[in-house]
Structures are given as structure tokens and as C-alpha cells.
């Protein structure tokens, strides 16, 4: 379609001498924008992690004075080195917001969608490079606004990252609901603008700018995952935008969308009448749940690619992987109510959401088993990226299984808002997605900076992070099963909470260990940009198109013509060829006509029984993915 136009257009620009500002700051090159997203995301990640260590110190040592906290937050928020109860809430809220939106949405999707979509589908840049640049700068602005709320008089937003009204709607309900909450809302609105600009771009790029021969069926799974992520974001973020705007009206203009029948201890009876706090929860979780998959799907896509490359095997069940991604994407829109089983929502609705929620476990299970089948009889290279990908699968299993408890409305009555939930989502979307992101960074670092990261340091980073992550979050399930609520500043309410004191210490120490491990990564990342070993064009011997571009990372990606695609992305160890791998742009005379056949692995070994082709569901689906003609 528009590839030819885009080609001609970018060719014009490609030899310009670029100034520092147009090259590094207001760059429209997708590779530079991806680096901007990544580095901003890493910085936000460090801030978010630092906050978590600060409040974990409070949970483990509630009566101890830590001068470092006073030094960091000032005597106002940490008098005598002890965290203030309100500021504890603020840190919890900011940690959640930063990690969910700024690190795992923008940092992960923003980085890898920008880097990989044009490179892997064979395009010279995004469909709209200018919008792409705007997307980053909206994100940057949003980060600045959010962080600035740390410095306002009444402190940052502190009603939890889910900002349920009336707590968030009434400035007098808690100090954090004042100026801090306003800034939070402004930041999120800017963030949504960034996310929508990016999402529209990713979708149009994938749909319109694939190179010759790159049919949807030949897309690497990373592209599929990032594409569907963008679709989810585009459909769900506007709902939060609406919800947030209504909340702003309630806060500032006296409307009553979410407020009714309120008597505030410090302000008396309020005028608001007729609204419903549960309405906000519906609007919030209509984004909030797809958001979980916005976070995890890119990580799963990255993992699919890395596991296939480093097992030297095709990803097992490509079609099933795509279908399960589609299934997850669709189902993620009709399960939001499982966050609200006991919020006063009609119990009939709860029963409906119970059913849809547990169905979504099926495609997730398929993905896990397919990863295991890909590892089976592989020839596994433990690159740093591969280690993190394996770690992700482990987290995905552990966290996915606890989801079966929480998705069951009956069990949720007991487990809702306990530490079981904290353990569950930190493992399944926190750790798993962070591991996907780290795997991606280690894998595509050569594509971003032309150098390799230090391998032994990467191993140290992996093992410390992997062990400490499990040590922090696994015990939380036990605490939750005993009925300990989350978001408590101190466990002094009931004597029985005291029996977890030693476990809380263990979790905090593990969190500190995890923090130190990230310092190793930070050193590795920034030093490798300058002194890392020079990379070759295709250091991992991978098949996808990004490894056909030169190490120099030129504007427009390919110095000559855009490569044509002749096969799917997973021809590893195919017995039909002598080589270990066949890149997507390598022509193959015997398969020129029947392009699609390469997908299904036409040349099985003698042990592999030829498959009987009945008209199955899968065949129908396959026909639906008509290949493009070359």
C-alpha cells in the first residue's frame, strides 16, 4: 500500500546532516524514540523501585528510625527517619502508578513497539513519525507532572493507584487528595494522549507498511503481540480518559457523577447527590483490566521470539499462539468486573464475570504449554535474554495459577484486597512483564546501540533478580491466605498479624537485594553503551528482518531496498536446510509459489509423521490468514 510512498519520502530525508537536537531530542526516527522511551522508563523504574524499598522498610521495621528516609523525603514526610502514615500511602500509590503506566506500559510497549515494528515488518519508519515524536514528548511531560506532585505541600496522590472516589474526589478526605490528586489526573490525561498517539501509529504501521511477502501469518509473534496491545490500548484508554475527566468535574465543578450521600468528618454533610462511586470503578477497570494485558502481551511476544531463537527451534504452535493472543485480547474486555466482585455490584454480574474470567485462563494455559514444547528437544543457548525469558515463563505459571483462585468470585470474598492479591499480580504482571522487558533489552541492545551487554554481569543480574523476586512475592500468598489486608501502614491492628513479622523482614531484605541487583544492570546497561563489545550484524543468529539492517543503525533502516520476505520467522534447525537458521529475506526456489507451506514445516524429519489434513478449525483459521503474493 503506502510502503512505496513512505519509501520515497524517507529516502529524501535520509542524507540530511542532523543537528544534536533533531537527532537526539526531537527525533522522528523510531529507533531514537524507542531509546528515549527506554531510558525514561528505566529512570521511572528506578524511582518506583526505590519507593517500594522505602515502604518495605516501614513494613518490616515499623519502630526503627532510618536516617536515610529522612534524608530522602525530608523531615516533613519522614520525621525522625520514620515514614509518615500519609506518605506511606502516597508512596504505595506512586509506586503503583509509576510501575503500571510509566514503566510497564510506556517503558515496555513504547520501547519495543517503536523499535521492533518497523524493523520486523520491513518498514523504513513508523506511519507517522511526527505523531510518534509527539507520543514520546507527551509521555515525558506526563512523567514530569507526575513526579512534580512529590513536591507539593500536601503530598502526592495517596488513595491507591486505582484512585477510587469519593476518597480521591474530596480534597478534604485526605491530604493526598488535594493538589497531588489534581496533578495525578493531569499526568494520566497526558499519558493517555501519548498512549493513543502511539497506539494509532503502531496499528497503522502494522496494517499498512509491511514489506512485500510479509503477510499477517508471517509476522513474528512480537509484532502480533505489540499490534494487539496497541488495539487494546486504543479501545480502552479513552474510557479511563472519560472517567478521569468526570472525576475532575466532581472535584472542581461540583458535579456528582461519583458522589452521593456523604458526610465528611471535617466538612459536614456535602451537597452531592445521585452519583455512584461504583460507576467510576466500572470505568476504571474497563481500562484497568485490558491494561493488565497491555502490560503482559508485549512481554509474551518478546519471550516467544527469544525462546524460539535461543532454543534454535520454531516456536511451537505459531497459529495457536496467535489465536490465544487474539483470545486473550478479546476476553480481556469482558472480565473487568472480577476486580469488583464485592464492591456492591449486583451479585448477578459477579457470577457472569466469574465465568468470563476463568475462561481467559485457557488461552494463557495454551501459551505456557507451547513455551514448554518449544524448549523440549531444543538446543538451548543461555544468553542473558534467554534466562529472563525462562524466568518470565516461570512467573507466568506461578502467577497465572493464583489467578484461578482470585477469578473465582466465591474465593475472592475471602482473598479480595489481601496480600494474596499483591503476591498474585506482582508475580504475573509485575515480575513477568519486567522480565519480558529485561529480556528484550538484553536481546535487542545490539540493535539499539551497536554493542553487546556484558554477559557475566547479565547472569549475576538474572540470578539475583529471579531469586529475590520470588523471595519477596511468594510469601505474600501465605500472608494473604491468613487474611492480612493490603495497604496497611503497620501491622498493629490485630495481634495475629504479629506472627508475620519475620516474614516481613525476609521480604524487605529480599527487596533490597533485588534493588542492588538492578544497580548491576544499570551499570551494565550504561557502560555497555560506551565500552561494550562491538556487535556483529546478527549476533544471535536470528531470522527476523531487524537483523538484516546494518550495525550502524541508519535513518531509514536499510541502506538499499527494503528486503522482501519469503518465509515465516521461525525456520530454525529445519532439516530441509544445512544451515541452523534461514532468515526471512532468504529466497527459497522450492517454496516461491506455495509460500504458506513453509509456515507449517513441510520438511519434517523421518520421525515426524506426516500430518493428515482434515478440514479442522485450525485449517479454517489458516485460510483466513491469506498470505500476500510476492
Amino acid at each position: 500500500m503506502s510502503t512505496a510512498v513512505a519509501h520515497a519520502h524517507t529516502d529524501d530525508h535520509h542524507h540530511h546532516e542532523e543537528s544534536f537536537i533533531s537527532k537526539y531530542i526531537f527525533s522522528m526516527d523510531h529507533k531514537m524514540i524507542s531509546k528515549q522511551f527506554l531510558i525514561t522508563g528505566i529512570i521511572m523504574g528506578l524511582i518506583g523501585m526505590g519507593m517500594s524499598i522505602a515502604f518495605r522498610l516501614q513494613l518490616a521495621y515499623p519502630d526503627t528510625s532510618f536516617p536515610i528516609l529522612e534524608w530522602l523525603f525530608g523531615s516533613k514526610w519522614a520525621p525522625d527517619g520514620k515514614l509518615d502514615a500519609g506518605y506511606y500511602m502516597a508512596l504505595v500509590t506512586m509506586h503503583g502508578t509509576i510501575m503500571v503506566f510509566y514503566v510497564l506500559t510506556a517503558g515496555l510497549s513504547g520501547t519495543f513497539a517503536n523499535l521492533l515494528l518497523p524493523l520486523q515488518i520491513g518498514a523504513r519508519d513508523m506511519a507517522s513519525p511526527f505523531m510518534n515524536m509527539l507520543s514520546y514528548w507527551f509521555f515525558f511531560l506526563s512523567s514530569v507532572v507526575l513526579l512534580s506532585s512529590l513536591f507539593v505541600e500536601t503530598g502526592p496522590a495517596s488513595g491507591g493507584w486505582t484512585i477510587y472516589p469519593p476518597l480521591s474526589a474530596l480534597p478534604k478526605a485526605m491530604p493526598g487528595s488535594g493538589m497531588g490528586m489534581t496533578l495525578w489526573l493531569v499526568a494520566i490525561i497526558l499519558f493517555i494522549a501519548s498512549s493513543l498517539l502511539g497506539g494509532i501509529n503502531y496499528i497503522s504501521t502494522v496494517l499498512n507498511m509491511r514489506t512485500k511477502g510479509m503477510s499477517m501469518t508471517r509476522l513474528p509473534l512480537t509484532v502480533w503481540a505489540l499490534f494487539l496491545t496497541a488495539v487494546l490500548g486504543l479501545l480502552s484508554f479513552p474510557v479511563l480518559l472519560g472517567g478521569g475527566l468526570l472525576l475532575m468535574f466532581d472535584r472542581g465543578f461540583g458535579t456528582s457523577f461519583y458522589l452521593s450521600d456523604i458526610y465528611l468528618g471535617s466538612a459536614g454533610a456535602l451537597e452531592h447527590t445521585g452519583g455512584s462511586p461504583v460507576l467510576f470503578q466500572h470505568l476504571f477497570w474497563f481500562l484497568g483490566h485490558p491494561e493488565v494485558y497491555i502490560i503482559i502481551m508485549p512481554a509474551l511476544g518478546i519471550t516467544s521470539e527469544i525462546i524460539a531463537v535461543n532454543s534454535r527451534k520454531p516456536i511451537f504452535g505459531y497459529t495457536a499462539m496467535v489465536i490465544s493472543l487474539l483470545g486473550i485480547a478479546f476476553l480481556s474486555f469482558i472480565v473487568w468486573g472480577h476486580h469488583m466482585f464485592i464492591t456492591g455490584m449486583n451479585p448477578l454480574l459477579g457470577a457472569v464475570f466469574l465465568v468470563t474470567t476463568l475462561i481467559i485462563a485457557v488461552p494463557s494455559a495454551v501459551k505456557t504449554f507451547n513455551y514448554l514444547a518449544t524448549l523440549w528437544r531444543g538446543n538451548i543457548r543461555f544468553t542473558n535474554a534467554m534466562m529472563f525469558a525462562i524466568g518470565l515463563v516461570s512467573f507466568f505459571i506461578s502467577g497465572g495459577l493464583t489467578g484461578i483462585f482470585l477469578g473465582n468470585a466465591t474465593l475472592d470474598i475471602q482473598l479480595h484486597d489481601t496480600y494474596f492479591v499483591v503476591g498474585h499480580f506482582h508475580i504475573v504482571m509485575g515480575c513477568a512483564a519486567i522480565f519480558g522487558m529485561l529480556a528484550g533489552i538484553y536481546h535487542w541492545f545490539p540493535k539499539m546501540f551497536g554493542r553487546l551487554m556484558n554477559k557475566p554481569l547479565g547472569y549475576i543480574h538474572f540470578w539475583l533478580t529471579f531469586a529475590s523476586a520470588y523471595l519477596v512475592f511468594f510469601p505474600m500468598h501465605f500472608i494473604g491466605l491468613a487474611g492480612v489486608p493490603r495497604r496497611y501502614y503497620a501491622f498493629t491492628l490485630l495481634p495475629e498479624y504479629g506472627q508475620w513479622a519475620d516474614v516481613n523482614v525476609l521480604m524487605t531484605l529480599a527487596a533490597i537485594l533485588g534493588g542492588i541487583a538492578q544497580l548491576v544492570f544499570i551499570y551494565n546497561f550504561f557502560s555497555s553503551i560506551f565500552i561494550g563489545k562491538k556487535s556483529t550484524e546478527n549476533p544471535w543468529e536470528a531470522n527476523t528482518l531487524e537483523w538484516t539492517t546494518p550495525v550502524e543503525r541508519i535513518h531509514g533502516n536499510w541502506p538499499g531496498a527494503i528486503p522482501t520476505v519469503y518465509r515465516w520467522a521461525y525456520d530454525y534447525s529445519n532439516p530441509a536446510y544445512d544451515e541452523d537458521f534461514k532468515m526471512q529475506n532468504v529466497p527459497d526456489e522450492s517454496h516461491v509459489v506455495e509460500l504458506f507451506e513453509t509456515n507449517t514445516g513441510t520438511a519434517p524429519s523421518t520421525k515426524d509423521k506426516p500430518e493428515t489434513e482434515t478440514v479442522s478449525f485450525f485449517t479454517l483459521i489458516r485460510n483466513w490468514f491469506k498470505p500476500r503474493t510476492v
Partner: protein, 591 residues
């Protein structure tokens, strides 16, 4: 007051305490001074202890800051100024709005976190609380503050955090640098010889096995340590079924957990790269994929249908239709419960009717009329405050000179809030809200049909503990005053959000009395509690209400008879002197 009498009252309280109250302390007054012109007695301190636990403990303890400041020494600080302290405790917002300097300074110091209003407390009650505080709270060992400070804090490795040991930091950095150099040298050597010195691939493959063993070992170890704490004995009927479902879910998920984690790490180890080996080309296998789509689907379908049925049974059945209905009321930061009186009906309530003497806003015609007068008086005083604004502003400006640094900044901010009209605006909005409230109250009073003033609420009992009867179903009807709270009763496997403007409820049948559970747990101090489980403000972590499951109806009736009705003539309540400390038991007539 004679010593003998003191002894007698002490014994009287001990006996009363043992009979009626689960926890009771005998207080021995050691006060050497008068507080607000009154002598401290054991009885007053006892009263103060209860009032503190009910009204103050969610935000204050004696030693050290909680949400609000530690209250130890508050008596020394305000010894000369009881009237101010009294006014502050009763209605700090009024004081702040009146432009009182000291009030505004405290408000700013605590980050504008607004303290609740306690107009329900009489002068005498406030003095009792101060007596308890001045008497050292619940004793020197605990540092006071009722429910707080019951835990032994874990030992802190001081050297680790408090005094950063720079030698250790330098050592760690050195080790890191040495490692880096070592890796660099190895890399150089392998570049020269063309061979890898360290086979990282094998090392990591074996590490995968080590991790697998360590991971499973730790999971099993932790289970063996904590298994007794998990899912404590269920004390409700549906809880037993729910626990069975939990076990079934464990039975379905644990094998999957162990098998898939094992396969993941084992495959990683077994199929590590070896020279000369090629991976087995296998792109898909439809049958296999169908198997692992259909099996999870079947297992999940079973779990879904079980969960669906039980969910409907717990939340959508009419089984508890005839259960006793009580109201559970949540506010920042505490709980109340309301029981119906002899008529067995809970009176209607409305948030517009809430004030100090009627914390739940139960409808009563006399009270509503009185409230309107009260509100009208407030409007008058607010209007006065508006007329005083220019003077206040001038006063602020005149005191600006001489201030430096943060104090000056804070002062300037305050002046700015006058200049920008924020203060004026705030006052005007408050007046508007009060007028609306008056209008709504008048409308409700005038309503001929469906009036909420049925008198059904007059004999309701507002209490601060829930008492239930073993084996009798109960429906808790939830109402929130300000923000969303969540009533969480882990032993009864019950939880429901408490949402302002949206009535919610939960029905269950307790099957183990408090006594039974004490026996089961071997802990004679054990009590059931209802705790808040939805973030609701700074003192969210400190919001609970005791739940007592009585052995039989007789014990319940006995307790119930001690509770005073909400709206009755004052003479009647005088007899129930021992319980007069309960919030809201004061009569309207007394106002």
C-alpha cells in the same frame, strides 16, 4: 475521696468488667493535679480509656506520631488553656476557619490532614480522656493508646541500615570491580585462544537445576512453617464450604504448578546447547495442542460451575431473608453498629441528619428540628467569620515582619490564600452546603408521604461492638458515612464493600462462638474483629470493630438489655450509668 471508696469502686469495676466487658482494666489514679478543674478518679480514667479507644485510637497513640501527633504531654502543653484545647477537640475545623493562629499552625504542620469533629463528646468526657492520658494510658510498658503497640517489633540489624558501614560498601565495590576485571581477562584470553574459558551455558544449565530444587524446597519449607496460620478455622457456615472449594482449587492447581515448573527448568537443563547437536524441528502438533486446550477448559469449567453455584448460594439466595438485620456503619476511621429495638425494625437514617449526638443520622423529628437550629447558628457564625476576613488578613500582614525561612513561606502562603479569595470561597461554599442541608431537612420534615420520621429508630441501639448469636443467621446491612470502606471478617469468610450512597449487605451464619474459637486456638485472649479492607485514608490500617459471637440467645439478650436506646428521655438512661460512655447513647433531650 477516701481510699476505701476508691478500693470499692475498683472492685466494683473489676466485677462489672468481668461480667459485661471482654477486656477491662482497673485503673489506679496516680494523678497529682487537677485537669480542667476536676480531680482524676479511677472511674473517670476508666471512662477516658474507653472513650480514647473508641474515638481517638485510630489516629493517635500516646508515644510517637501515628496519623496525628502522640498525645503524651498534651496535658502539660495546654495546662493553661483548657478552653482552647476543648474547642479544638470538639470542632477543630471551626477553630481553623475562625482564623485562630495556633489551630492553623497545627493544621499546616500536619499537612492539612483534617482531624474529625467530636461535638458528640461532652466537656466531662473530654476531661476524662485527658485524665487517662495524663495517667500514663494503659501502663508504662505499653506506652498507651489502647489497641496500638501490642506487638513486639522485630530485631533490627542496626549495623545494616543505620550506620552505613563505608568499609563494607567499598569492599563490595572492590569485589565488583575485581569481578569485572576477571571477566574482562577471561574474555581476552578466549578471544586469543578462540575457546571459551568458562562454559557459561553449562553453568547456567546446572544453576537451573539448583534453582528448581531450591525453589521447591523453600515452597515446601514455608508451607510447613505457616500451614497452621493459613485459612484459619472457618467460623461461619458458608465458610466451611468455601474452604472445601479452596482445597479443590489447590488440588487442581498445585500439581500443575509443580509439574510445569519442573518441566520448565528440567527442559532448560536437559536441552542445553551441546556441540554438534541440532534442535528437533517441530513446528506444531494439533492433537497435542487440542489436548492442552481441552483439559484446562474442562478443569476450569468444573471450577467455574462450583464457584458459580456457591456464589449464588452465598450472595443471591433468600436463605437469610428472615435473619436478624443489623446496620454496620463505617466512617473515617472507625465502625459503629446499630441494632433494632423492641419493634425489631431499624429506623430510617440519612446522612443529612448526622451530628455529634446522632453519629449515624437516624431519623428523629425532634433531633432534626434541633439540628436545623444548630445549622442556622453555624451559618450565622460563618457569616461573622466572613465579615472578619479583612481584619484577619491585616493581622497576618502585620505579623509577617521578622519571620524567616519556612515560617515566612508558610505565612506568605496563608496571606495568599486570603488574597486569592480561597478562604472566602471556602466559607461561602460551606454556607451554601449548610443551606442545602437545611432545605433538605425541612423538605423531609414536611413530607407527608413516605416520611423517614416514623419513630422506628427511636429505640435503636447504636453500639461499638457487634454481638451475634451462635447458629443464628445475621444480615449485616452496610452504610458508609464518607468514603468507601470494606468490612472484612476473615474468620467468617465474609467481606463486602461499604459504599456511600449505595446500600450493600452480607448474610452469614456464625457456627463457632468466641469461646469456641478461643478453645480451638488455645488463646484465651482471642477475639473476632471486623477490619477495614479498602483504602480509606491515612488511618486505614487502624480501623476495627470487635465481633462477639455469644454462646446462646440468653447471653445475647443480656448484652442487648444493657444497651441504651438512641432517643429516649434522659431519666431512663441515668440508670444505665456504666454504659453512658458509649458514643451516641446521650439523649437528644440533653441538647
Amino acid at each position: 475521696m477516701s481510699n476505701k471508696f476508691k478500693q470499692q469502686t475498683k472492685w466494683l469495676f473489676l466485677v462489672l468488667g468481668l461480667l459485661f466487658v471482654q477486656h477491662s482494666f482497673a485503673y489506679k489514679s496516680t494523678l497529682t493535679r487537677q485537669i480542667a478543674g476536676e480531680d482524676g478518679t479511677d472511674a473517670r480514667i476508666e471512662e477516658g480509656s474507653k472513650l480514647f479507644a473508641a474515638n481517638c485510637a485510630s489516629c493517635h497513640k500516646l508515644k510517637g506520631k501515628l496519623v496525628g501527633p502522640g498525645l503524651e504531654g498534651v496535658v502539660d502543653k495546654y495546662e493553661e488553656d483548657w478552653t482552647w484545647l476543648n474547642a479544638w477537640i470538639k470542632n477543630n475545623q471551626k477553630l481553623i476557619k475562625s482564623g485562630d493562629e495556633r489551630a492553623n499552625a497545627i493544621y499546616t504542620e500536619y499537612n492539612k490532614s483534617a482531624m474529625n469533629i467530636f461535638e458528640n463528646l461532652s466537656d466531662k468526657q473530654i476531661t476524662s480522656i485527658l485524665m487517662w492520658i495524663d495517667n500514663g494510658g494503659d501502663g508504662p510498658s505499653e506506652g498507651g493508646g489502647g489497641p496500638i503497640d501490642t506487638l513486639e517489633p522485630p530485631e533490627v540489624p542496626n549495623s545494616l541500615f543505620n550506620n552505613i558501614n563505608w568499609a563494607v560498601v567499598v569492599m563490595c565495590l572492590l569485589v565488583f570491580v575485581i569481578l569485572l576485571m576477571l571477566f574482562g581477562i577471561l574474555e581476552l584470553v578466549s578471544n586469543v585462544t578462540g575457546k571459551e574459558i568458562i562454559n557459561w551455558n553449562n553453568i547456567n544449565a546446572y544453576m537451573m537445576l539448583v534453582f528448581l530444587v531450591g525453589f521447591f524446597g523453600l515452597v515446601l519449607y514455608e508451607y510447613s512453617v505457616h500451614k497452621d496460620f493459613l485459612l484459619p478455622q472457618s467460623a461461619s457456615e458458608h465458610g466451611v464450604d468455601m474452604d472445601r472449594m479452596m482445597q479443590w482449587t489447590f488440588a487442581a492447581t498445585l500439581p500443575v504448578f509443580f509439574i510445569t515448573q519442573f518441566l520448565l527448568f528440567f527442559f532448560s537443563f536437559k536441552y542445553r546447547q551441546k556441540p554438534g547437536r541440532k534442535a528437533y524441528f517441530l513446528s506444531h502438533n494439533n492433537n497435542l495442542e487440542l489436548v492442552w486446550t481441552i483439559i484446562p477448559a474442562i478443569v476450569l469449567a468444573i471450577l467455574v460451575s462450583g464457584g458459580f453455584k456457591m456464589w449464588n448460594k452465598i450472595l443471591r439466595s433468600d436463605a437469610g431473608k428472615d435473619a436478624l438485620q443489623i446496620e454496620v456503619f463505617a466512617y473515617q476511621f472507625g465502625w459503629n453498629a446499630r441494632y433494632p429495638g423492641e419493634d425489631n425494625k431499624l429506623g430510617k437514617a440519612n446522612y443529612n441528619l448526622i451530628n455529634g449526638v446522632n453519629p449515624l443520622g437516624v431519623a428523629n423529628r425532634e433531633h432534626a428540628t434541633g439540628l436545623i437550629t444548630e445549622l442556622e447558628e453555624e451559618i450565622v457564625s460563618l457569616n461573622e467569620a466572613i465579615s472578619r476576613l479583612p481584619q484577619e488578613e491585616a493581622k497576618l500582614r502585620s505579623t509577617l515582619g521578622g519571620l524567616v525561612g519556612d515560617d515566612r513561606d508558610a505565612h506568605l502562603r496563608e496571606i495568599h490564600s486570603y488574597e486569592s479569595g480561597d478562604v472566602l470561597n471556602d466559607l461561602k461554599l460551606t454556607i451554601r452546603a449548610r443551606n442545602t442541608q437545611i432545605e433538605r431537612l425541612k423538605g423531609a420534615l414536611a413530607a407527608a408521604k413516605g416520611s423517614m420520621f416514623t419513630g422506628e429508630g427511636d429505640d435503636d441501639r447504636v453500639v461499638q461492638e457487634i454481638h451475634l448469636v451462635k447458629d443464628q443467621p445475621i444480615t449485616l446491612k452496610f452504610r458508609a458515612r464518607d468514603v468507601i470502606h470494606s468490612a472484612y471478617l476473615p474468620y467468617f469468610r465474609a467481606q463486602m464493600n461499604v459504599v456511600p450512597g449505595l446500600p450493600t449487605e452480607f448474610t452469614f451464619k456464625p457456627i463457632l462462638s468466641t469461646g469456641d474459637m478461643r478453645e480451638i486456638k488455645g488463646d484465651p485472649e482471642f477475639d473476632y474483629y471486623l477490619v477495614c479492607n479498602k483504602i480509606c485514608g491515612n488511618a486505614h490500617f487502624n480501623m476495627k470493630m470487635k465481633v462477639v459471637v455469644e454462646e446462646n440467645q440468653a447471653a445475647y439478650d443480656k448484652w442487648m438489655n444493657e444497651q441504651a436506646a438512641l432517643f429516649v428521655k434522659k431519666e431512663e438512661t441515668k440508670n444505665a450509668e456504666t454504659e453512658s460512655t458509649e458514643e451516641g447513647t446521650e439523649t437528644v433531650a440533653s441538647n
